[in-house]
Symmetry: C2
Subunit: 266 residues, 2 copies
């Protein structure tokens, strides 16, 4: 793809496990390590990246000279999202082919500027967007985000099996919302269970890239458009993301040479 060295899909199977939060923080962590990074928000029905990157409502991408759009810039990364195109309250009441069309347009008509990594914030499920991505562009690998509990693992497994079917290597698993530490007494509670990340990494012979606690600050900072990695660069959360970023970059370069082949046919 023009202007992009490596495409990484950030996926989960299930919604609401913090995929968009992980995407934006991982992107910022890679940028902090000197990489040029872009984020493509592939969730057409429920895009989150405009709010998470602090892009002011109503900001629209500018046209480039060649029928393409320039991505928006935020916190030093390049970004494209359906949220930059429409009113945030307006639901996209669209059937599959319309959604695929919008996704393809964002994928092929954004003029990314010399990116090392383009992170794609995938919607939940294993359908149109996932198939289109695997068929249209070479994907260097997938990062699977999951919470530790059984119901989330059910869907994370499906996500991994899908990437295998379409020959996209799984780079590893991020376990999100791992433990909650009470702000007052420090008591640890496994509100969303424990051990799920390890179990699934073992089952599929991949690595746990990192574990993120369930904390108020991650959610608040991301909601406010200044994710942890830029707001608290020396904090524990940023350090975890720095490690995840390193492992992702290493896994991508280890996979090179036998590059991803896109062999899935409908």
């Amino acid at each position: 793809m023009d202007g992009v060295k490596h495409i990484i899909a950030v996926a989960s199977g299930k919604g609401g496990v913090g995929k968009s939060t992980v995407t934006v923080n991982l992107a910022l962590a890679l940028a902090a390590q000197g990489y040029r990074v872009g984020v493509l928000d592939a969730d057409i029905y429920g895009p989150s990246q405009a709010q998470m990157l602090g892009v002011k409502e109503g900001t629209r991408p500018q046209a480039a000279s060649n029928d393409k759009f320039l991505p928006l810039q935020a916190h030093g990364i390049q970004a494209m999202s359906m949220a930059f195109m429409v009113n945030t309250r307006e639901p996209m009441v669209w059937r599959g082919p319309m959604v695929v069309g919008a996704f393809q347009q964002m994928l092929t008509q954004t003029q990314w500027d010399n990116l090392d990594f383009l992170l794609i914030d995938m919607p939940p499920g294993t359908g149109d967007i996932q198939l289109t991505l695997a068929q249209k562009v070479p994907v260097a690998g997938a990062v699977i985000v999951t919470t530790p509990q059984d119901i989330a693992l059910l869907d994370a497994r499906k996500g991994i099996e899908m990437f295998r079917k379409v020959n996209v290597p799984v780079l590893g698993v991020v376990e999100n919302m791992s433990l909650y530490h009470c702000e007052k007494c420090g008591h640890e509670a496994a509100i969303f269970g424990t051990g799920g990340g390890d179990n699934i990494a073992q089952e599929y012979d991949t690595q746990v890239l990192g574990r993120l606690p369930l904390t108020l600050s991650i959610r608040e900072l991301t909601d406010s458009g200044r994710p942890s990695v830029v707001s608290e660069p020396d904090g524990a959360v940023s350090q975890t993301f720095a490690t995840i970023a390193q492992k992702v970059a290493e896994a991508v370069s280890a996979n090179q040479g036998d590059g991803p082949t896109i062999s899935f046919s409908e």
Copy 2:
């Protein structure tokens, strides 16, 4: 629809806010009040209801005499899900029309037995399944599930706007994961924010049907196939669901007469 008096969609816009958990507990609460209740799991990519209802893996629906399937029975309610048809690990790597086909089949070829309420556990988004439901059957109303934080409200708004577009009345909002009470010191933390349910109910002139706390037990009991309403029928969570059930039943009967019209055309 044959064998069904009222169809209620349980929806959220965003995934991971506890929609399936609310669906199953609301179904059980309605059943506890003497109604005959069914659950249709419309999440084709990530069905959760088999596990939540404690249906043993591999249990398959039996054929009825008329080309239809009998729903499975669990905790006194009738249920149909994609999870009853396939291996739980197998991802449905399907484009929109395939998903719509599977949903339509479950919707029209299940032989529901004399239901007062059929609750439909909707997938996230505002796409194929949502459009198909609104176009194929009369929906008595929608229950919107949201967590209190901004990012979830973004998507809940889209869900509500979509139901308005297709003329399905919104019966009210369930705010999930409202406050976490530390098991040890009792400290209350608004991990997923506060006030979101009220804000959105006011904005759209609808009611808050109930607020559910973020607790370990709701998640654990649902994951284990014995949801709170059957496991702890006298507990606070069950009481909240009893109130929600009452309000839902009242809202549906108040809406009758001017019944839902399905006027949306693609």
